[in-house]
Point group: C2
Chain length 314, copies 2
């Protein structure tokens, strides 16, 4: 399979430049002291819609032809990709159709509708989701933008680590959380092209460890009934993300939910920034496997900051 | 009375330069849209110890002679000034003695002890606090650093607005929360010296509105049994802060606790940063008095970010 090349990622970076925030890289002296390492946090919680997902959605939508754009875009997602695609469509003055399970939180639906998208509800099964999406596309001609299993999305997510490598030199390791693998595969490609000495680690909740198992087995083994507080990481690797991860990621490390919650609280307390549970998984991994990370210069992708304050885990 | 002059504030800025963070100024497109104004948030929640208080404590301790410094510093506070003085003392390799009521939250005591200070407990009355502090000073010779009623503290807090004025031009208004008045009087002096066209507004909880009443009466009227979620603003104006506020502040506006909580939640949700209730009072004022603020360029001092996550108001 052909992976997105350096030209594609360079082009993606130029394409999204005026649409996405160049998010800051923050450091924390107290976290560095606690962990005996130098940590560089790339703050995608400050990205538009509160998550890195806006990069991929923006890249994908800007690759459509004018004729295609007029027909709108469609996806299935109850998470950050739904909001990202909704806002990206709004920016291009076109329509987004978002298929969501009818048991998705009301707040998620409202957020997407707030960005001007149309929400189409379906039963909470994979089959209903795909059938409903296909019907929407058949009826409207909208362009399907998959949340992660799409080269345009992967190239867009890669722009995040690209910015990090441009800002911080000589890092030893970069860690990204892994769900469907869009962010991790993009991060791995960015490391390969722009910082080839940097080791790439995927951080995954034990309760949804399909990437860990797939990576070690050398083939995709999807999660069955995944369960974790890190609700952005419930999805399994896709056919386009897995090969990149298999080739260019050095290691997948897993961590339990209580440690994820502890890491999330530590970032809230010490850095005074809001991150969602999924974004805390890399720090939880650093805390669990201290012997690997001691003394190292480590980039951490804080993937998002969308939290339901009524359901805080602490 | 003589107020700190521009030379004193310039000197304070140079003195604290290498000890304090130059905190970022953040903007939020979505808050600007909601409020029809341009808001510039000076993020002292990212300051060391999580609050602007570290500026004043650092300025004060660095004005002591070498002989004085050896004897240490002392204060009464269960809030951010306690942590600020503790860390400032640690930085100068000397001791901080912090008098705290014995009913202060355990987390506050632990934080101060964590910075290497000695906590001396007393009964939770004003009298016990002063008696205990005097005993500590008599015994140790430590230098008393008042939380706000001190020219060195006021000059130190002024460096925060000074930085804001250097970064953002042509603001119409700057708003700071007001408790004892150290931050507000420093902000007013900074405006007078560095941005004389900027209108200075104090933001105060209705449940602790001594500054509002004192400002309008032209004399200090302390709060009796103040009560507000904004627990950093329970103190009343002092003899050194009130005259500056009376002279150089344009207006004090008050706001009720539910509106403070709403403003705090809005900043958490939209800006993905953690601020304490006291820091939300200026935004709550902007939301309440929209006719005053519409279309204006407004600086807002986010005074701190120390929150007890077990007692969130939402």
């Amino acid at each position: 399979m052909e992976f997105p090349g350096i030209d594609q990622i360079d082009a993606a970076a130029n394409r999204v430049l005026h649409f996405v925030h160049k998010t800051p890289v923050l450091c924390s002296k107290s976290l560095d002291e606690i962990l005996n390492a130098q940590l560089y946090f790339k703050c995608e919680n400050f990205q538009k819609v509160g998550a890195f997902k806006y990069r991929g959605a923006t890249n994908a939508i800007n690759l459509l032809s004018d004729d295609q754009i007029q027909l709108g875009v469609a996806t299935h997602s109850s998470g950050n990709h739904a909001q990202a695609l909704a806002l990206a469509a709004k920016t291009k003055n076109t329509k987004a159709y978002i298929v969501m399970p009818d048991n998705a939180p009301k707040s998620k639906k409202e957020a997407v509708i707030g960005y001007g998208a149309e929400v189409i509800e379906c039963e909470p099964t994979l089959e209903a989701r795909e059938t409903t999406l296909n019907k929407v596309i058949e009826k409207t001609g909208a362009n399907f933008i998959h949340p992660y299993n799409d080269q345009r999305i992967i190239a867009g997510q890669a722009t995040c680590a690209k910015e990090l490598f441009e800002e911080v030199n000589d890092m030893d390791i970069v860690i990204a959380p892994v769900g469907g693998g869009g962010l991790l595969s993009g991060t791995a490609l960015a490391a390969k092209y722009y910082a080839p000495k940097v080791k790439v680690i995927g951080a995954e909740p034990t309760g949804a460890d399909d990437a860990y198992r797939s990576f070690n087995a050398g083939k995709i083994i999807p999660s069955i009934n995944p369960n974790t507080i890190a609700d952005g990481l419930l999805t399994s690797l896709g056919s386009k993300t897995f090969p990149i991860i298999k080739e260019y990621v050095h290691q997948i490390l897993t961590v339990e939910d209580p440690a994820i919650i502890e890491a999330m609280k530590l970032i809230w307390q010490r850095m005074k920034i809001i991150i969602e549970p999924s974004a805390a998984v890399p720090l939880a991994v650093v805390m669990k496997y201290q012997s690997i990370f001691k003394g190292k210069r480590i980039g951490i992708i804080l993937s998002g900051g969308n939290v339901d304050f009524d359901k805080l885990p602490f």
